[in-house]
Protein backbone atom coordinates (compact mmCIF):
# COMPACT_ATOMS: atom_id res chain seq x y z
CA UNK A 1 0.00 0.00 0.00
CA UNK A 2 2.69 2.46 1.04
CA UNK A 3 4.70 1.50 -2.03
CA UNK A 4 1.74 2.27 -4.31
CA UNK A 5 1.18 5.64 -2.65
CA UNK A 6 4.87 6.43 -2.95
CA UNK A 7 4.93 5.58 -6.64
CA UNK A 8 1.75 7.60 -7.17
CA UNK A 9 3.30 10.67 -5.55
CA UNK A 10 6.53 10.12 -7.46
CA UNK A 11 4.80 9.91 -10.84
CA UNK A 12 2.35 12.74 -10.19
CA UNK A 13 4.88 15.16 -8.74
CA UNK A 14 7.35 14.56 -11.58
CA UNK A 15 4.49 14.94 -14.08
CA UNK A 16 3.36 18.26 -12.59
CA UNK A 17 6.90 19.60 -12.21
CA UNK A 18 7.86 18.69 -15.76
CA UNK A 19 4.61 20.20 -17.02
CA UNK A 20 5.64 23.42 -15.28
CA UNK A 21 9.08 23.18 -16.85
CA UNK A 22 7.47 22.81 -20.30
CA UNK A 23 6.15 26.36 -20.09
CA UNK A 24 9.05 27.86 -18.18
CA UNK A 25 12.11 26.35 -19.90
CA UNK A 26 14.01 28.88 -21.99
CA UNK A 27 15.11 26.41 -24.66
CA UNK A 28 12.16 24.98 -26.67
CA UNK A 29 13.96 21.67 -27.16
CA UNK A 30 14.16 21.34 -23.39
CA UNK A 31 10.44 22.16 -23.27
CA UNK A 32 9.65 19.27 -25.61
CA UNK A 33 11.89 16.93 -23.62
CA UNK A 34 10.05 17.91 -20.43
CA UNK A 35 6.75 17.34 -22.25
CA UNK A 36 7.94 13.81 -23.04
CA UNK A 37 8.88 13.26 -19.40
CA UNK A 38 5.41 14.44 -18.43
CA UNK A 39 3.78 11.99 -20.89
CA UNK A 40 5.84 9.12 -19.54
CA UNK A 41 4.84 9.91 -15.98
CA UNK A 42 1.20 10.21 -17.02
CA UNK A 43 1.43 6.72 -18.46
CA UNK A 44 2.90 5.58 -15.14
CA UNK A 45 -0.23 6.99 -13.46
CA UNK A 46 -2.39 5.01 -15.91
CA UNK A 47 -0.54 1.86 -14.89
CA UNK A 48 -1.29 2.63 -11.24
CA UNK A 49 -4.97 2.95 -12.14
CA UNK A 50 -4.84 -0.52 -13.67
CA UNK A 51 -5.26 0.81 -17.21
CA UNK A 52 -2.09 -0.70 -18.59
CA UNK A 53 -3.31 -0.78 -22.21
CA UNK A 54 -3.99 2.98 -22.19
CA UNK A 55 -0.60 3.56 -20.58
CA UNK A 56 1.22 1.70 -23.32
CA UNK A 57 -0.84 3.36 -26.08
CA UNK A 58 0.02 6.74 -24.56
CA UNK A 59 3.72 5.93 -24.75
CA UNK A 60 3.58 4.41 -28.24
CA UNK A 61 1.44 7.13 -29.82
CA UNK A 62 2.37 10.31 -28.00
CA UNK A 63 5.95 9.68 -26.95
CA UNK A 64 6.98 7.31 -29.72
CA UNK A 65 5.46 9.13 -32.67
CA UNK A 66 3.89 12.54 -32.00
CA UNK A 67 6.63 13.92 -29.75
CA UNK A 68 9.36 12.70 -32.12
CA UNK A 69 7.91 14.79 -34.94
CA UNK A 70 7.35 17.67 -32.54
CA UNK A 71 10.98 17.51 -31.45
CA UNK A 72 12.02 17.49 -35.10
CA UNK A 73 10.09 20.63 -35.89
CA UNK A 74 11.42 22.47 -32.85
CA UNK A 75 14.99 21.42 -33.63
CA UNK A 76 14.83 22.40 -37.29
CA UNK A 77 13.06 25.74 -36.92
CA UNK A 78 15.16 28.76 -36.17
CA UNK A 79 12.96 30.40 -33.57
CA UNK A 80 13.81 33.82 -32.18
CA UNK A 81 13.04 33.50 -28.49
CA UNK A 82 13.71 37.06 -27.50
CA UNK A 83 10.97 38.08 -29.91
CA UNK A 84 8.64 35.36 -28.62
CA UNK A 85 9.02 36.61 -25.08
CA UNK A 86 8.37 40.23 -25.98
CA UNK A 87 4.59 39.98 -25.80
CA UNK A 88 4.58 38.17 -22.46
CA UNK A 89 3.04 40.97 -20.39
CA UNK A 90 0.62 41.82 -23.17
CA UNK A 91 -0.83 38.29 -23.25
CA UNK A 92 -0.56 37.68 -19.51
CA UNK A 93 -4.05 38.98 -18.49
CA UNK A 94 -5.85 36.86 -21.07
CA UNK A 95 -3.78 33.76 -20.27
CA UNK A 96 -4.33 34.21 -16.56
CA UNK A 97 -8.06 34.64 -17.15
CA UNK A 98 -8.18 31.35 -19.08
CA UNK A 99 -6.26 29.61 -16.31
CA UNK A 100 -8.59 30.93 -13.60
CA UNK A 101 -11.68 29.87 -15.57
CA UNK A 102 -10.23 26.36 -15.92
CA UNK A 103 -9.46 26.12 -12.20
CA UNK A 104 -12.99 27.29 -11.29
CA UNK A 105 -14.53 24.76 -13.66
CA UNK A 106 -12.48 21.94 -12.16
CA UNK A 107 -13.41 23.09 -8.67
CA UNK A 108 -17.12 23.10 -9.53
CA UNK A 109 -16.80 19.63 -11.01
CA UNK A 110 -15.18 18.21 -7.89
CA UNK A 111 -17.49 19.97 -5.43
CA UNK A 112 -20.82 19.25 -7.11
CA UNK A 113 -20.38 15.75 -8.49
CA UNK A 114 -21.24 13.85 -5.31
CA UNK A 115 -22.04 10.67 -7.19
CA UNK A 116 -18.44 10.10 -8.19
CA UNK A 117 -16.18 8.46 -5.68
CA UNK A 118 -13.16 10.59 -6.44
CA UNK A 119 -13.84 12.91 -3.54
CA UNK A 120 -15.15 10.48 -0.95
CA UNK A 121 -12.88 7.54 -1.57
CA UNK A 122 -10.50 7.37 1.36
CA UNK A 123 -8.97 3.97 0.61
CA UNK A 124 -5.26 3.97 -0.18
CA UNK A 125 -4.25 3.99 -3.80
CA UNK A 126 -3.71 0.66 -5.43
CA UNK A 127 -4.15 -0.81 -8.89
CA UNK A 128 -7.65 -1.98 -9.67
CA UNK A 129 -7.43 -5.59 -10.81
CA UNK A 130 -10.26 -6.97 -12.90
CA UNK A 131 -10.90 -10.51 -14.00
CA UNK A 132 -10.73 -9.61 -17.70
CA UNK A 133 -7.70 -7.92 -19.28
CA UNK A 134 -8.52 -4.30 -19.90
CA UNK A 135 -7.39 -4.62 -23.52
CA UNK A 136 -10.27 -7.04 -23.99
CA UNK A 137 -12.67 -4.82 -22.06
CA UNK A 138 -11.85 -1.79 -24.21
CA UNK A 139 -12.29 -3.89 -27.34
CA UNK A 140 -15.65 -5.22 -26.20
CA UNK A 141 -17.00 -1.73 -25.59
CA UNK A 142 -15.29 0.09 -28.45
CA UNK A 143 -16.44 -2.24 -31.21
CA UNK A 144 -20.01 -2.68 -29.99
CA UNK A 145 -21.46 0.27 -28.11
CA UNK A 146 -19.23 3.00 -29.53
CA UNK A 147 -18.78 1.45 -32.96
CA UNK A 148 -20.10 4.44 -34.95
CA UNK A 149 -18.12 6.96 -32.92
CA UNK A 150 -15.04 4.83 -33.45
CA UNK A 151 -15.60 4.79 -37.21
CA UNK A 152 -16.18 8.55 -37.22
CA UNK A 153 -12.87 9.04 -35.39
CA UNK A 154 -11.21 6.96 -38.08
CA UNK A 155 -12.74 9.09 -40.82
CA UNK A 156 -11.68 12.32 -39.09
CA UNK A 157 -8.11 11.01 -38.89
CA UNK A 158 -8.24 10.00 -42.54
CA UNK A 159 -9.41 13.49 -43.54
CA UNK A 160 -6.63 15.06 -41.48
CA UNK A 161 -4.12 12.74 -43.10
CA UNK A 162 -5.25 13.50 -46.63
CA UNK A 163 -5.31 17.21 -45.79
CA UNK A 164 -1.74 17.25 -44.53
CA UNK A 165 -0.55 15.23 -47.50
CA UNK A 166 -2.14 17.65 -49.97
CA UNK A 167 -0.63 20.58 -48.05
CA UNK A 168 2.90 19.23 -48.33
CA UNK A 169 2.65 17.58 -51.75
CA UNK A 170 3.98 19.80 -54.48
CA UNK A 171 5.25 18.67 -57.80
CA UNK A 172 8.20 20.78 -58.76
CA UNK A 173 9.14 20.28 -62.38
CA UNK A 174 12.56 18.97 -63.29
CA UNK A 175 12.88 16.51 -60.41
CA UNK A 176 14.53 13.32 -61.57
CA UNK A 177 12.72 10.29 -60.26
CA UNK A 178 13.80 6.68 -60.25
CA UNK A 179 11.68 4.02 -61.81
CA UNK A 180 12.68 1.00 -59.76
CA UNK A 181 11.13 -1.53 -62.14
CA UNK A 182 12.90 -0.17 -65.17
CA UNK A 183 16.15 -0.06 -63.15
CA UNK A 184 15.78 -3.67 -62.16
CA UNK A 185 15.08 -4.84 -65.69
CA UNK A 186 18.17 -3.24 -67.17
CA UNK A 187 20.52 -5.68 -68.86
CA UNK A 188 23.59 -5.33 -71.03
CA UNK A 189 21.68 -5.23 -74.32
CA UNK A 190 19.58 -2.19 -73.32
CA UNK A 191 22.14 -0.38 -71.19
CA UNK A 192 25.18 -0.46 -73.45
CA UNK A 193 25.36 0.82 -76.97
CA UNK A 194 28.33 -0.16 -79.07
CA UNK A 195 29.72 2.36 -81.53
CA UNK A 196 32.62 2.33 -83.89
CA UNK A 197 34.58 5.51 -83.33
CA UNK A 198 37.00 6.60 -86.01
CA UNK A 199 40.36 7.73 -84.74
CA UNK A 200 40.70 11.46 -84.55
CA UNK A 201 36.96 12.16 -85.06
CA UNK A 202 35.07 11.26 -81.90
CA UNK A 203 31.31 11.02 -81.76
Amino acid sequence: MVLYSLTFYLFSSVAVLSALMVISAKNPVHSVLFLILSFVNASGLFVLLGAEFLAMILVVVYVGAVAVLFLFVVMMLDINFVKLREGFLQYLPFGALLGIVLVIELGILFLTDRSSNIYNNQTPLQPIVYEVENTKMIGQILYTEYFYLFQICGIILLVAMIGSITLTLRDKGGVKRQNIDSQNTVDASTAIEKKKVKIGEGI
Binding site: L3, N27, V29, E52, F53, G64, A65, V68, F72, T135
Partner: protein, 333 residues
Protein backbone atom coordinates in the same frame (compact mmCIF):
# COMPACT_ATOMS: atom_id res chain seq x y z
CA UNK B 1 5.55 -3.32 7.57
CA UNK B 2 8.75 -1.44 6.78
CA UNK B 3 10.69 -4.69 6.59
CA UNK B 4 8.17 -6.00 4.10
CA UNK B 5 8.83 -3.07 1.79
CA UNK B 6 12.56 -3.51 2.25
CA UNK B 7 12.41 -7.21 1.43
CA UNK B 8 10.17 -6.62 -1.60
CA UNK B 9 12.58 -3.95 -2.77
CA UNK B 10 15.58 -6.24 -2.33
CA UNK B 11 13.85 -9.06 -4.24
CA UNK B 12 13.04 -6.67 -7.08
CA UNK B 13 16.65 -5.43 -7.21
CA UNK B 14 17.95 -9.01 -7.17
CA UNK B 15 15.61 -9.95 -10.02
CA UNK B 16 16.72 -6.94 -12.05
CA UNK B 17 20.39 -7.79 -11.49
CA UNK B 18 19.76 -11.43 -12.41
CA UNK B 19 18.52 -10.25 -15.81
CA UNK B 20 20.76 -7.24 -16.46
CA UNK B 21 24.13 -8.77 -15.56
CA UNK B 22 23.80 -11.76 -17.94
CA UNK B 23 22.58 -9.38 -20.64
CA UNK B 24 25.63 -7.15 -20.25
CA UNK B 25 27.98 -10.13 -20.26
CA UNK B 26 26.30 -11.52 -23.36
CA UNK B 27 26.73 -8.11 -25.00
CA UNK B 28 30.49 -8.42 -24.45
CA UNK B 29 30.53 -11.88 -26.00
CA UNK B 30 28.25 -10.78 -28.83
CA UNK B 31 30.78 -8.11 -29.79
CA UNK B 32 33.52 -10.75 -29.72
CA UNK B 33 31.37 -13.22 -31.70
CA UNK B 34 30.55 -10.57 -34.27
CA UNK B 35 34.22 -9.75 -34.85
CA UNK B 36 35.09 -13.44 -35.05
CA UNK B 37 32.27 -14.32 -37.47
CA UNK B 38 33.00 -11.31 -39.67
CA UNK B 39 36.66 -12.31 -39.69
CA UNK B 40 35.74 -15.84 -40.78
CA UNK B 41 33.48 -14.48 -43.54
CA UNK B 42 36.34 -12.27 -44.74
CA UNK B 43 38.99 -15.01 -44.34
CA UNK B 44 40.80 -13.25 -41.50
CA UNK B 45 41.72 -14.39 -38.00
CA UNK B 46 39.84 -11.78 -35.96
CA UNK B 47 40.75 -10.95 -32.34
CA UNK B 48 43.13 -13.64 -31.03
CA UNK B 49 45.50 -11.93 -28.61
CA UNK B 50 43.68 -11.15 -25.34
CA UNK B 51 42.89 -14.38 -23.48
CA UNK B 52 42.45 -17.80 -25.11
CA UNK B 53 41.22 -17.31 -28.72
CA UNK B 54 40.97 -13.59 -27.91
CA UNK B 55 37.82 -14.24 -25.90
CA UNK B 56 38.51 -11.37 -23.47
CA UNK B 57 38.96 -8.82 -26.28
CA UNK B 58 35.70 -6.93 -25.60
CA UNK B 59 36.51 -6.58 -21.89
CA UNK B 60 39.91 -5.15 -22.80
CA UNK B 61 38.25 -2.74 -25.23
CA UNK B 62 35.69 -1.64 -22.66
CA UNK B 63 38.41 -1.02 -20.05
CA UNK B 64 40.45 0.96 -22.57
CA UNK B 65 37.48 3.12 -23.52
CA UNK B 66 36.34 3.76 -19.96
CA UNK B 67 39.78 4.87 -18.78
CA UNK B 68 40.05 7.41 -21.58
CA UNK B 69 39.17 11.06 -21.11
CA UNK B 70 35.51 11.95 -21.59
CA UNK B 71 35.43 14.92 -23.92
CA UNK B 72 32.35 17.15 -23.87
CA UNK B 73 32.41 19.62 -26.78
CA UNK B 74 32.29 23.22 -25.59
CA UNK B 75 29.49 24.10 -28.05
CA UNK B 76 27.30 21.23 -26.94
CA UNK B 77 24.22 21.34 -24.77
CA UNK B 78 25.87 19.60 -21.82
CA UNK B 79 22.95 18.14 -19.90
CA UNK B 80 21.25 16.68 -22.97
CA UNK B 81 24.64 15.55 -24.30
CA UNK B 82 25.27 13.51 -21.15
CA UNK B 83 21.67 12.28 -20.86
CA UNK B 84 21.49 10.87 -24.40
CA UNK B 85 23.78 7.82 -23.98
CA UNK B 86 22.29 7.12 -20.56
CA UNK B 87 18.77 7.07 -22.02
CA UNK B 88 19.87 4.79 -24.86
CA UNK B 89 21.44 2.34 -22.41
CA UNK B 90 18.56 2.41 -19.92
CA UNK B 91 15.94 1.86 -22.63
CA UNK B 92 17.81 -1.05 -24.16
CA UNK B 93 17.87 -2.70 -20.72
CA UNK B 94 14.31 -1.72 -19.70
CA UNK B 95 12.72 -4.01 -22.27
CA UNK B 96 14.17 -7.08 -20.56
CA UNK B 97 11.72 -6.68 -17.68
CA UNK B 98 8.97 -8.50 -19.60
CA UNK B 99 10.95 -11.11 -21.56
CA UNK B 100 10.03 -14.65 -20.46
CA UNK B 101 13.18 -16.80 -20.65
CA UNK B 102 11.43 -20.00 -19.54
CA UNK B 103 8.01 -20.79 -18.03
CA UNK B 104 7.71 -18.39 -15.09
CA UNK B 105 11.20 -16.91 -15.58
CA UNK B 106 10.14 -13.33 -16.07
CA UNK B 107 10.65 -10.24 -13.90
CA UNK B 108 7.21 -8.80 -14.63
CA UNK B 109 4.60 -10.92 -16.39
CA UNK B 110 2.32 -8.06 -17.41
CA UNK B 111 -0.80 -8.38 -19.56
CA UNK B 112 0.43 -5.94 -22.18
CA UNK B 113 3.97 -7.33 -22.46
CA UNK B 114 4.26 -6.99 -26.22
CA UNK B 115 2.90 -3.43 -26.15
CA UNK B 116 5.49 -2.60 -23.50
CA UNK B 117 8.28 -3.96 -25.68
CA UNK B 118 6.94 -2.02 -28.66
CA UNK B 119 6.76 1.17 -26.57
CA UNK B 120 10.28 0.76 -25.22
CA UNK B 121 11.74 0.07 -28.65
CA UNK B 122 9.94 3.12 -30.04
CA UNK B 123 11.46 5.27 -27.28
CA UNK B 124 14.94 4.20 -28.39
CA UNK B 125 14.93 6.96 -31.00
CA UNK B 126 15.18 9.64 -28.29
CA UNK B 127 18.69 8.76 -27.25
CA UNK B 128 19.78 9.19 -30.86
CA UNK B 129 17.90 12.43 -31.56
CA UNK B 130 19.13 13.96 -28.31
CA UNK B 131 22.71 12.92 -29.05
CA UNK B 132 22.52 14.38 -32.53
CA UNK B 133 21.02 17.65 -31.42
CA UNK B 134 23.11 18.19 -28.27
CA UNK B 135 26.39 17.61 -30.11
CA UNK B 136 25.77 20.85 -32.00
CA UNK B 137 27.62 19.51 -35.01
CA UNK B 138 26.58 18.70 -38.59
CA UNK B 139 27.35 15.01 -38.91
CA UNK B 140 25.67 13.91 -35.68
CA UNK B 141 22.61 15.97 -36.55
CA UNK B 142 22.32 14.41 -40.00
CA UNK B 143 22.76 10.98 -38.43
CA UNK B 144 20.04 11.71 -35.90
CA UNK B 145 17.63 12.87 -38.60
CA UNK B 146 18.25 9.75 -40.64
CA UNK B 147 17.86 7.51 -37.65
CA UNK B 148 14.62 9.09 -36.45
CA UNK B 149 12.99 8.90 -39.89
CA UNK B 150 14.15 5.31 -40.28
CA UNK B 151 12.96 4.11 -36.89
CA UNK B 152 9.56 5.79 -37.21
CA UNK B 153 9.02 4.25 -40.66
CA UNK B 154 9.94 0.71 -39.73
CA UNK B 155 7.97 0.82 -36.50
CA UNK B 156 4.80 0.96 -38.58
CA UNK B 157 5.41 -2.38 -40.24
CA UNK B 158 6.65 -3.88 -36.96
CA UNK B 159 3.31 -2.82 -35.46
CA UNK B 160 1.37 -4.63 -38.20
CA UNK B 161 3.50 -7.76 -37.80
CA UNK B 162 2.77 -7.74 -34.08
CA UNK B 163 -0.96 -7.33 -34.79
CA UNK B 164 -0.88 -10.38 -37.08
CA UNK B 165 0.70 -12.47 -34.34
CA UNK B 166 -1.75 -11.15 -31.76
CA UNK B 167 -4.68 -12.14 -34.00
CA UNK B 168 -3.47 -15.73 -33.78
CA UNK B 169 -2.85 -15.59 -30.01
CA UNK B 170 -5.67 -13.52 -28.58
CA UNK B 171 -3.53 -12.00 -25.83
CA UNK B 172 -0.79 -9.41 -25.43
CA UNK B 173 0.96 -11.39 -22.72
CA UNK B 174 4.37 -12.67 -23.89
CA UNK B 175 4.10 -15.99 -22.03
CA UNK B 176 0.71 -16.63 -23.66
CA UNK B 177 2.18 -15.76 -27.06
CA UNK B 178 4.83 -18.44 -26.50
CA UNK B 179 2.30 -21.00 -25.24
CA UNK B 180 0.09 -20.42 -28.29
CA UNK B 181 2.93 -21.80 -30.43
CA UNK B 182 2.86 -25.28 -28.88
CA UNK B 183 1.38 -26.89 -31.98
CA UNK B 184 3.35 -24.93 -34.56
CA UNK B 185 5.78 -22.01 -34.37
CA UNK B 186 4.36 -18.87 -35.95
CA UNK B 187 7.41 -18.68 -38.22
CA UNK B 188 5.82 -21.40 -40.36
CA UNK B 189 2.24 -20.16 -40.98
CA UNK B 190 3.36 -16.52 -40.89
CA UNK B 191 6.66 -16.92 -42.76
CA UNK B 192 6.40 -13.64 -44.76
CA UNK B 193 5.72 -11.69 -41.56
CA UNK B 194 8.70 -13.37 -39.91
CA UNK B 195 10.94 -12.15 -42.72
CA UNK B 196 9.46 -8.63 -42.60
CA UNK B 197 9.90 -8.53 -38.82
CA UNK B 198 13.52 -9.62 -39.08
CA UNK B 199 14.35 -7.00 -41.72
CA UNK B 200 12.50 -4.30 -39.77
CA UNK B 201 14.42 -5.34 -36.66
CA UNK B 202 17.64 -4.73 -38.60
CA UNK B 203 16.41 -1.25 -39.48
CA UNK B 204 15.11 -0.57 -35.97
CA UNK B 205 18.47 -1.37 -34.38
CA UNK B 206 20.37 0.59 -37.07
CA UNK B 207 22.25 -2.48 -38.20
CA UNK B 208 23.72 -3.13 -41.61
CA UNK B 209 22.46 -3.01 -44.33
CA UNK B 210 20.42 -0.18 -42.78
CA UNK B 211 23.09 1.48 -40.65
CA UNK B 212 22.79 4.85 -42.41
CA UNK B 213 22.63 6.83 -39.14
CA UNK B 214 26.25 5.84 -38.51
CA UNK B 215 27.37 5.51 -42.09
CA UNK B 216 31.12 6.11 -41.78
CA UNK B 217 31.80 6.96 -45.39
CA UNK B 218 29.32 9.86 -45.45
CA UNK B 219 28.74 10.86 -41.81
CA UNK B 220 32.07 10.06 -40.05
CA UNK B 221 30.41 8.10 -37.22
CA UNK B 222 26.86 9.45 -37.42
CA UNK B 223 25.08 10.49 -34.25
CA UNK B 224 27.90 9.55 -31.89
CA UNK B 225 30.69 11.34 -33.74
CA UNK B 226 31.31 13.67 -30.79
CA UNK B 227 31.17 10.98 -28.12
CA UNK B 228 34.22 9.52 -26.47
CA UNK B 229 35.17 7.16 -23.65
CA UNK B 230 32.40 6.06 -21.26
CA UNK B 231 29.53 7.79 -23.06
CA UNK B 232 30.59 6.08 -26.28
CA UNK B 233 30.67 2.76 -24.43
CA UNK B 234 27.08 3.36 -23.31
CA UNK B 235 25.94 3.90 -26.91
CA UNK B 236 27.86 0.84 -28.01
CA UNK B 237 26.45 -1.37 -25.25
CA UNK B 238 22.97 0.06 -25.85
CA UNK B 239 23.09 -0.81 -29.54
CA UNK B 240 24.13 -4.39 -28.90
CA UNK B 241 21.76 -4.86 -25.97
CA UNK B 242 18.85 -3.68 -28.11
CA UNK B 243 20.04 -6.08 -30.81
CA UNK B 244 19.73 -8.96 -28.35
CA UNK B 245 16.36 -7.58 -27.22
CA UNK B 246 15.03 -7.51 -30.77
CA UNK B 247 16.31 -11.06 -31.31
CA UNK B 248 14.50 -12.22 -28.17
CA UNK B 249 11.37 -10.49 -29.42
CA UNK B 250 11.71 -12.34 -32.75
CA UNK B 251 12.17 -15.62 -30.90
CA UNK B 252 9.12 -15.04 -28.70
CA UNK B 253 6.87 -13.93 -31.54
CA UNK B 254 7.89 -16.44 -34.21
CA UNK B 255 10.23 -19.17 -32.98
CA UNK B 256 8.28 -20.42 -29.99
CA UNK B 257 10.30 -18.83 -27.17
CA UNK B 258 11.39 -21.51 -24.71
CA UNK B 259 9.51 -24.34 -26.46
CA UNK B 260 11.50 -27.19 -28.04
CA UNK B 261 11.05 -27.67 -31.80
CA UNK B 262 9.18 -30.95 -31.29
CA UNK B 263 7.61 -32.11 -28.06
CA UNK B 264 9.40 -35.50 -28.08
CA UNK B 265 11.58 -37.22 -25.48
CA UNK B 266 15.21 -36.09 -25.88
CA UNK B 267 14.21 -32.56 -26.87
CA UNK B 268 11.68 -31.74 -24.16
CA UNK B 269 13.95 -32.57 -21.22
CA UNK B 270 16.33 -29.76 -22.23
CA UNK B 271 15.50 -26.74 -20.02
CA UNK B 272 13.49 -23.98 -21.72
CA UNK B 273 16.09 -21.32 -21.06
CA UNK B 274 18.59 -23.28 -23.17
CA UNK B 275 16.20 -23.47 -26.11
CA UNK B 276 15.56 -19.75 -25.73
CA UNK B 277 19.27 -18.95 -25.70
CA UNK B 278 20.01 -21.19 -28.68
CA UNK B 279 17.28 -19.51 -30.72
CA UNK B 280 18.43 -16.02 -29.75
CA UNK B 281 21.99 -16.92 -30.73
CA UNK B 282 20.70 -18.17 -34.09
CA UNK B 283 18.91 -14.86 -34.77
CA UNK B 284 21.98 -12.91 -33.66
CA UNK B 285 24.08 -14.99 -36.04
CA UNK B 286 21.66 -13.98 -38.81
CA UNK B 287 22.21 -10.30 -37.84
CA UNK B 288 25.98 -10.74 -38.18
CA UNK B 289 25.69 -12.86 -41.30
CA UNK B 290 23.62 -10.13 -42.98
CA UNK B 291 26.23 -7.57 -41.96
CA UNK B 292 29.00 -9.62 -43.54
CA UNK B 293 27.06 -10.29 -46.75
CA UNK B 294 25.02 -7.29 -47.90
CA UNK B 295 26.09 -3.84 -49.05
CA UNK B 296 24.55 -0.80 -47.38
CA UNK B 297 21.25 0.50 -48.72
CA UNK B 298 20.89 3.97 -50.14
CA UNK B 299 18.64 6.15 -48.00
CA UNK B 300 15.83 6.54 -50.56
CA UNK B 301 15.88 2.78 -51.17
CA UNK B 302 15.51 2.25 -47.43
CA UNK B 303 12.50 4.57 -47.25
CA UNK B 304 10.95 3.00 -50.33
CA UNK B 305 11.33 -0.48 -48.85
CA UNK B 306 9.73 0.63 -45.58
CA UNK B 307 6.78 2.59 -46.89
CA UNK B 308 6.06 1.17 -50.34
CA UNK B 309 6.86 -2.50 -49.87
CA UNK B 310 6.62 -3.54 -46.22
CA UNK B 311 3.72 -1.32 -45.16
CA UNK B 312 1.24 -2.36 -47.88
CA UNK B 313 2.32 -5.98 -47.68
CA UNK B 314 2.01 -6.24 -43.90
CA UNK B 315 -1.33 -4.39 -44.00
CA UNK B 316 -2.57 -6.87 -46.58
CA UNK B 317 -1.35 -9.75 -44.46
CA UNK B 318 -3.20 -8.44 -41.37
CA UNK B 319 -6.44 -8.37 -43.39
CA UNK B 320 -5.74 -11.77 -44.94
CA UNK B 321 -4.92 -13.40 -41.60
CA UNK B 322 -7.98 -12.00 -39.84
CA UNK B 323 -10.16 -13.01 -42.80
CA UNK B 324 -8.75 -16.52 -42.72
CA UNK B 325 -9.25 -16.83 -38.96
CA UNK B 326 -12.84 -15.57 -39.14
CA UNK B 327 -13.78 -17.70 -42.15
CA UNK B 328 -12.47 -20.94 -40.66
CA UNK B 329 -13.69 -19.97 -37.19
CA UNK B 330 -10.19 -20.30 -35.73
CA UNK B 331 -10.17 -17.03 -33.77
CA UNK B 332 -8.77 -17.62 -30.27
CA UNK B 333 -11.46 -17.48 -27.51
Amino acid sequence: MTYDILITGLIIVAQILAVVVPVLISVAFLVYAERKVLALIQLRRGPNIVGPFGILQSFADALKLITKENIIPSGSNKIVFILAPIITMVLSLAGWAVIPFAPGWVVSDINVGIMYLFAVSSLGVYGIIMAGWASNSQYPFLGALRSAAQMVSYEVSIGFVIITVLLCVGSLNLSKIVLAQQTVWFAIPLLPMFIIFFISALAETNRLPFDLPEDESTLVAGFFTEYSSASFVLFFLGEYASMILMSSMTVILFLGGWLPPFDVYPLNVVPGVIWFTVKVIFILFLFIWVRGTFPRYRYDQLMRLGWKVFLPFSLFWVVATSGFLVYFDMLPN
